[in-house]
Symmetry: D4
């Protein structure tokens, strides 16, 4: 999944089964021209490799981390504990409580180690990419322009189809 | 907090502020004659020391671990990720959502790494000690007898005061 | 369902309809080489037989109990009331509130009688077996080794398939 | 708490601490002229005495049972499992989740053994008495008249004080 | 739906679409030999007819009322406001919040007018019939015996199929 | 509470204890120069008078109804069932579930009879008055201007105190 | 979607995907003879056009606004911030939390700017139209009569099919 | 509240009453040496000024925005709609639902416009500052070092006080 230039965003998910949702993150980053790497790693089943991946992310060129998990959803927090890079959490929907558990497990971080949490499920997967782009855009004019273009295009799609009774 | 004999239970909590609740765990273990150690450690602020404490618990003589945390409450899971000793989670109540966040963050562990979660707050703090005792009692007759005695005494207290209108 | 050697774990569920979920408990125990017995019993419809089954579990060689139930989910607590063996509760998902009712009914036990509750539904069914194994492993080296091997294998599966975009 | 005539309602609560709430049940029954008995018994700590109390209620003259409990709140269901007398459940409020746990633990009974659940806390304590009266009134004209009078008086209190800005 | 003898239970539901669930109430009453009548009436769309039906229930021979509704679920309370007969509420599941809204709308009645609420959806539909039977059995020996037989049969079904791995 | 001119808004609340919250409705209407009447009436304890009050509201000159209730909170719906005047519901906070029960009981009305529900508690009490004003302003220019002035003043208060660290 | 006469109701939804639900609003308004316009606009993706549409609604002849949105559901509030016309909010169901998020995001408006919120999903879509009609009916006799007729017809449908066991 | 150097973070809150919570944001930023500005602005009561403040933030030198709000909590989304700067949302606790409403209103943003949401209440206020610092640290070495130092100090505080029974 790694694009050839140095990745600037690291995506990690707790299970292979999160990929159908998180593909929206990858696709959105690709659309914005932002190279990334993507990994499956578990805070609970592979804690050392997870810690290692997070701790070395900055030196691999990564500037923002996106972590997806369901249920107890400790992954974003475990990542955030090992780096000061900004970590974006995406709560997965595919558990009994439909992502409410994952949302609370991600967002309710104790003072000291934040996780910026986005929407549950696929809307969150897209938004995680856009949020990563916004963070990179603080110091990267090209990303800022790509983000502006993305937004303008989405707004125009709405304005071009004002009448809901005529399915686009 | 360490009693002189080799501790058999390890208690860990995410914050000093959890102690007023978790003192019920310590008191109940003491009442059952079970030596323990107690530590403050944070899954997010001191991840390496937390992992180290969990990973070495078995060789320190510990046989059961009790972890208390509030909010995102990753501590029991982080402990469980580094040991195969049974881990008991106690959700702390002192956050906006009154422990529902901590409960879900603890109990909804992914398949592979369980946490046995008990009641929110002080009832859970007492029950964590009793559950640790029940685990030890599988192979320790003295603990089994102490647990039987504890239960019998509690039951008798109820039976001795059958009339609710006469406050004990 | 009873394996020929003396069962060491007793599985009980409130309804035959819980079996498709709880089969994961049975399969995981079998994989770990832990003999068990499994029964359908209801805290509400067969209270005496349930009490009797729990009260005699220890003398049948059982060392850990696993109880699955949905809705009001009184079964684990009813079992725990009649034995000091550790009881693991598995909340079933197949009710209107998707297991939140069963979770709260199991985990919020009053001080005195704990139930160690695991995840809702199938993740919990697997984890109940692993938790039972962890409890047995406190005093049984063979189970401890089987559990270590189980964990290592699961971790390796993740590490062998690091790229989520290449479906395993 | 037992009035001298044969009690017709049995009130049971899981803890002495439920009495300040459940006193409203006792007071309302007294006001309606319905004799009752009241007991503290725990489904988990005194399961045999609880079962015995329920199983013998009918022969003691009792025709309706009221059970109050908090948290896992198994008491009404445990009572209902041992008698076919109608059981009214009152969820107690004094736990972290403010009675939502007790409500779900009581109301979500499996098919076969119902509990008629009323409001959380003090409104429920009053209503449990009124519901017991309604059940007795099916075959007892005196209770039916007392209930009619109670209702009429409460309605009149509202109609006599129509203006909310003039505190009664 | 009216059986020929004088109905003793009145079933009312807020919508024709509740019938597939509430048929379990009708079937269970029929199995117990209890005559009933069943109506569709809405607390909000036909308030006068609803009030009239409730107010005249007692004189039609009815002794217990069962009301099913979803969402705001005012029907049981509206019925209870017009009669002192015991009212059993059954929360319907088929709304966005899966019956949690209906449950709270039914159970949280203000002091003065109780509704005995049972489980959400089909388990509640069966239990409403059994609860009505328990209420009638207070003064009707035949119903008491039918209820005892029903319970014994259900218990035996469980005891006859103890092994969950052998699907009945 | 009735101002001398013909009331244009009718406020009803289920209990005298709702008045401390609902006084904000009265004060806001007074501030906007809108005459109103206020009553305590209960959907469950005084159903006939409640129905009567609602059914005759239009002929008393009332054009909008505001109904406050807690818990099962059937009052707004009961009012709406008896009039086609717009009904605004205000969920009261003072119950165990902090108004979530009242919110769901009001807002989840079945298709056919709407209630326009506003915020829980005091914010909702103020907003109910403003919403009533907005409804009247559809055909009343004076109210429209009063509402514009109210909004402008509130906005100016914010703009006049831009610095949060300097408490106003 | 615009009917030829001047629209009196403006319907806005945050996404084209809300139309299958909101078609019930359009159909109900059409049935009542109330002309309307319908637009897709996003509070977040097209904030300026949304503000503009709301700010100019009154001068386009519109007297009531209906806004549908899911998730964070800011649309009704954003509309209400730019007009004093009454705004009706319809929470969409098609997100992970089944509309509970949208409900809270709409209804919990701060004091100063109300949104009258109706039921989640399709029941709310129908009710939004009826509520808009009730608001218009305050000053429009023709709409008042159409609304009366609508209600009478719906009530008659229920009264014509009293027996739930005979599917209509 | 503006420090003399060009502010790099903009803090906005919906009400003066949010300041006692959000002071933790200001204090934490000050401790990290990050200049900021703080404003009270309302998405609903001052929508134009809010939009203007957000739209001009980048040109005022601001690189990250922090928005606090309670209840419907539209403020972070309204800000995010007008800028591509990263927006951090802090749900306020002081409403009936204890911040759950604000959390859902912030985090469940539709695809296209993300808000990175942090913990409810004071823990979130501190974490918002740390998250802003992490974002700035992507391209600012001094902030990165300040953040490292902050974390190390907090970790050391825990490690220096390992024994929970000895209150620090």
């Amino acid at each position: 999944m790694t694009a050839t230039p140095l990745p600037r965003v690291g995506i990690v998910m707790g299970s292979q089964s999160d990929w159908p949702t998180m593909q929206a993150t990858a696709d959105t980053l690709t659309g914005l021209g932002i190279p990334f790497e993507a990994r499956v790693l578990s805070a609970h089943r592979t804690p050392d490799e997870t810690a290692q991946w997070a701790a070395t992310a900055r030196e691999r060129g990564i500037r923002v981390l996106i972590a997806a998990a369901g249920g107890a959803a400790a992954l974003p927090g475990a990542i955030a504990a090992k780096t000061t890079l900004p970590v974006i959490g995406v709560p997965m929907e595919g558990w009994a409580l439909k992502g409410l558990d994952a949302l609370l497990s991600m967002v309710q971080m104790p003072p000291g180690i934040p996780v910026g949490t986005v929407s549950i499920g696929k809307p969150g997967a897209t938004n995680a990419a856009l949020y990563a782009a916004a963070i990179l855009a603080v110091s990267d004019e090209a990303v800022a322009q790509a983000l502006d273009a993305y937004r303008a295009k989405r707004a125009q799609q709405i304005l071009d189809n004002p009448d809901p009774s005529k399915a686009g």
